[in-house]
Symmetry: C2
């Protein structure tokens, strides 16, 4: 089947399924999620065998080890995917929530109700666990989903999608509700981005290149996720021991993720006291430090930062460090280079804390905590479909409510407009 | 100045201004809105003179009378624009509203706060009152705005923008907060649609052609507004007198707007009783009726409906009428042809009312009322920037809260992620 036919057929079926999903009971959705979890556990061998094909192909193509590791599925990872579905089943159903309501002077009763978005397209890269995650979250929020994973994981994704969709359909979820695009032709992505007839939204999950392609080419509304050039500012009144722990955690605990710090800003009045030990600790941890001129005075390992380092999302053990003259200078730097993801200040000054949180424009603005907490689970959402870095529809970690829209239902007794 | 330079300069200034607007006090914003209103009143002669240039040009170009009327500004209309600004000043400020908050087990206090979107681009057509309206709403919600009106209204828009921006800046609104694109070159629209560096969102206001161009070409997130193929279904148990009033009002009270009904659906069991009088009333009111075969039996004036009539947004005294066999058939028809704007059922059956409101996917779903109520003022929002027909970010009438985003502020005392 050519990819246009495949997309059209899956789009049509998904749209049909979405109508039924919109009014499906929470009980049935949860039953489906639990059945999907059990099916994953029961068919581990099928998944592992399919995954082996992907792994073999990747090795033959010389894929780097860390990427092969992301692709790999073993018992632990399959059980974790199943557990994820059970957690989604345990979350409250966002659909049907009454968000407000009022009576108009003419007697019309208006009620604002949470409804599913409809059909969600997810475009993602190598990790096959996204297949399960995204399908589970979309289903719980009453949406049909069309999944397009990376071609490297196609055998794993096909096996997983068949297992979970089959389990869901067996308990009464309408066919077409969980669809995986099987064509690996890259052109299928371009076609998906123009599938306005069937898709209500596209959420890309992956690297900056994927996000850019989707944002630039999609006519379907997009929720852009991901890119994080995050800062931590150590203010003049900071508890420096706390600042060291926060700044170390923000960079080193998991450098490859979007909420990791990329640039450390230090007030000049505490630079001499704070930076030598801090930089040595980074150095010991294998962090490459790219600093401004002042920073270079405090440790021999500091390389000079280039202009592009201030805007870089390193996603690695690399850190840009800059000494700034004031809170205002720190906010100016952040405003110039931030991707508006997560920003932190370490301070003991009430007014500085207040101003930083008011004036810094980002999805998450921290006082005296690590930027690493920007995450659906750490926020207590119990799930996460991604972290939005746009301001429209959703911002920051997106849980189930962010996968919904609203509808106004209006009850009258014959009102007409004069 | 070429249009790229103009857009870049205005974009940069708007972004700078947006930072200050984000933390501007409600009192100052209201003072600015009132000053803008007074300035419009005081400089009516300037506006009328500028408008005369637009009108002269339009007449010379042979613009049709109804369009010239939309372009015309007189004292009544200028006073109404000023009054609109005073109404916006009287509305509650959405910025800073705490939408929720919670304490995490690790002691992090998370608060979700409403913040402005940033810089909003508005692309609109002939009516110059949008210049005032959009500027006022964006300012109240703390956003900078870049306005691009139709070239037909350029002289009026320039005069209005200069007057209101001048009045706002004089009381302390930062320069650049209210910008009008002065280049009339059509290419400026294409360039605006790619201005991701400066624009957080684009809202097109106008006909289906404009909306389509924006949706298809914008890389900036868009809120699509407008198109309304709205239905009214007269159910078997309908109070037929009520149904006639509602169906007449929905079509005839203002046929040129998006919430007007375009197709009337009638249950076959009441068609013989309902349609003859209904169709005669439409006929008397000058409505052209395009009906299905069954409809044609009930009035001599009914022309046969073509396939494309079921999907048409006539925006005129034209109505498609179809007899259907059941509630399900009505919902099927609506699902196939609706633009998900406003849909109504007239019924006395509780279960049919419930099912219609649950199963019909639209921004506003009415029981026993006219679709004409889908409107920010009729909903009680006190303002309206447009009616969203997409599901992302906003759906239905958009007031001030729909011109905002959110931010999470997180307060800790040294939390790091393990």
């Amino acid at each position: 089947m050519d990819y246009i036919s495949e997309l059209t057929e899956k789009g049509k079926d998904a749209k049909q399924a979405a109508r039924k999903l919109a009014t499906m009971s929470t009980a049935l959705k949860n039953e489906a999620l639990l059945a999907m979890a059990t099916a994953l556990e029961n068919k581990q061998d099928v998944i592992v065998a399919a995954n082996a094909q992907d792994i073999n192909r990747a090795e033959a193509n010389g894929m780097p080890k860390p990427l092969i590791d992301r692709l790999l599925l073993n018992q632990t990872r399959i059980l974790a995917m199943a557990e994820g579905l059970r957690q989604i089943a345990a979350l409250p159903d966002p659909v049907g929530e009454v968000l407000g309501g009022w009576l108009r002077p003419n007697g019309l009763a208006i009620t604002k109700i949470r409804v599913p978005l409809g059909v969600i397209g997810i475009i993602y890269e190598a990790r096959p666990n996204v297949t399960v995650d995204a399908a589970g979250l979309c289903l719980k929020a009453g949406n049909a989903v069309i999944l397009r994973g990376g071609s490297e994981a196609i055998d794993s994704n096909k096996a997983i999608a068949e297992i979970i969709a089959g389990a869901a359909y067996a308990v009464g979820v309408p066919a077409g509700a969980i669809a995986l695009v099987e064509t690996t032709d890259r052109q299928v992505v371009s076609a998906m981005l123009k599938l306005n007839q069937y898709l209500d939204v596209i959420i890309p999950r992956g690297g900056a290149g994927l996000i850019k392609t989707v944002v630039e080419n999609s006519t379907v509304p997009v929720i852009a996720t991901g890119t994080g050039v995050c800062h931590t500012f150590v203010d003049v009144t900071a508890d420096l021991a706390m600042a060291q722990e926060i700044a170390f955690n923000a960079k080193v605990s998991r450098p490859g993720v979007c909420n990791a710090m990329e640039t450390l800003l230090v007030h000049e009045a505490v630079a001499a006291q704070f930076l030598p030990a801090m930089l040595e600790r980074y150095h010991q941890a294998g962090v490459e430090i790219r600093g401004c001129e002042q920073t270079m005075k405090y440790h021999a390992a500091v390389k000079p930062a280039m202009a592009e380092d201030w805007a870089a999302e390193f996603l690695d053990l690399i850190l840009a460090v800059r000494v700034v003259s004031s809170l205002e200078a720190a906010i100016e730097h952040i405003t110039a280079y931030s991707t508006c993801h997560s920003e932190a200040i370490v301070t003991s000054d009430y007014e500085h804390a207040r101003r930083f949180q008011q004036e810094v424009d980002a999805a998450a603005v921290y006082v005296n905590a690590s930027t690493r907490f920007t995450d659906g689970f750490e926020f207590g959402f119990g799930a996460e479909i991604g972290i939005s870095t746009q301001k429209l529809h959703a911002r920051g970690p997106m849980g189930l409510p962010e996968l919904t829209s609203i509808k106004y239902v209006i009850n009258g007794n014959g009102q007409i407009r004069t």
